[in-house]
């Protein structure tokens, strides 16, 4: 009986989620909140790239998995850098305007 149960454990071992899964969850969380605004745009653009990236994911072949995961990570990187640089740019502009006014 123990052998049989061990076989069952082997058969039902945890599987690895698709590589784009995490990115898709974040995109879905962002998309859940409909509306407008710059953050929504960032989120939806990121989600769109993730969806495109997921197109690269054909089946569960290792190479394609890696590719899709990489594209999803790249999409998230783009969103992160866009927000960072935009915020820095806004701050720089505000500082410049205020010092010019002085």
């Amino acid at each position: 009986m123990e052998d049989f149960e061990r076989q069952l454990r082997n058969a039902l071992a945890r599987k690895q989620e698709p590589p784009t899964f995490e990115a898709k969850v974040y995109a879905a969380v962002a998309a859940q909140r409909s509306g407008r605004g710059i953050f929504w745009r960032w989120a939806t653009e990121g989600a769109a790239v993730v969806v495109i990236a997921s197109g690269f994911w054909m089946g569960y072949q290792h190479e394609n998995q890696q590719r899709a995961a990489g594209e999803a990570a790249k999409a998230r990187l783009e969103v992160a850098l866009r927000i960072t640089v935009t915020e820095l740019s806004k701050i720089q502009k505000t500082v410049r305007t205020s010092t010019e006014d002085e």
Partner: protein, 162 residues
């Protein structure tokens, strides 16, 4: 505990529960994504990582069973055609593993989920009883009957593995 931490720690568990129950990678991903979306909405009601894991197991079980019920008579993927998602390690005889998964997929919904929770998550009947909200004796009875059926069919098709 942040949402990101809970997601990362449990995504394989949630996806696998749905996959072993549904035997359809696309449907499993859909269910798992929906479960995490719900988790995000309920996040501030959770009391810690253990509670989050319990909540996720319960929500995934419920959502996967609902999914099968809603799908009804819609055509499903032939069991032999399923592309297996990768797992870190797949010990044991791959043919036997495959046959066992096929047989588990033929079980009715509740006993099938009991088996998946028992042997994927290594949960005790008492824990399964809480997750599926059924008496412990019902869980034990599902386990006994499912094991007997699986053993009989495996013995018949592959010979005694003892």
């Amino acid at each position: 505990m942040t949402f990101a931490e809970v997601l990362r720690a449990n995504q394989s568990m949630v996806f696998s529960l749905a996959f072993h129950f549904l035997r359809d990678p696309g449907a499993a991903e859909e269910v798992a994504q929906d479960v995490f979306l719900r988790l995000h909405q309920k996040f501030d009601e959770l009391e810690g990582p253990r509670h989050a894991t319990f909540w996720l197991r319960k929500a995934t079980s419920r959502r996967a069973i609902d999914y099968v019920r809603k799908r009804g008579s819609r055509a499903t993927i032939a069991l032999d055609d399923i592309a297996e998602p990768s797992s870190a390690e797949q010990p044991g005889d791959p043919l036997l593993n495959r046959r066992l998964r096929q047989l588990i997929a033929t079980l009715p919904e509740k006993p099938r989920m009991v088996m998946v929770l028992r042997y994927q998550e290594d949960l005790m009947p008492e824990e399964i009883s809480e997750i599926l909200e059924m008496p412990v004796r019902t869980v034990k009875s599902h386990l006994q009957r499912s094991l007997a059926m699986l053993r009989e069919k495996i013995d018949r098709s592959l010979g005694d593995i003892r």
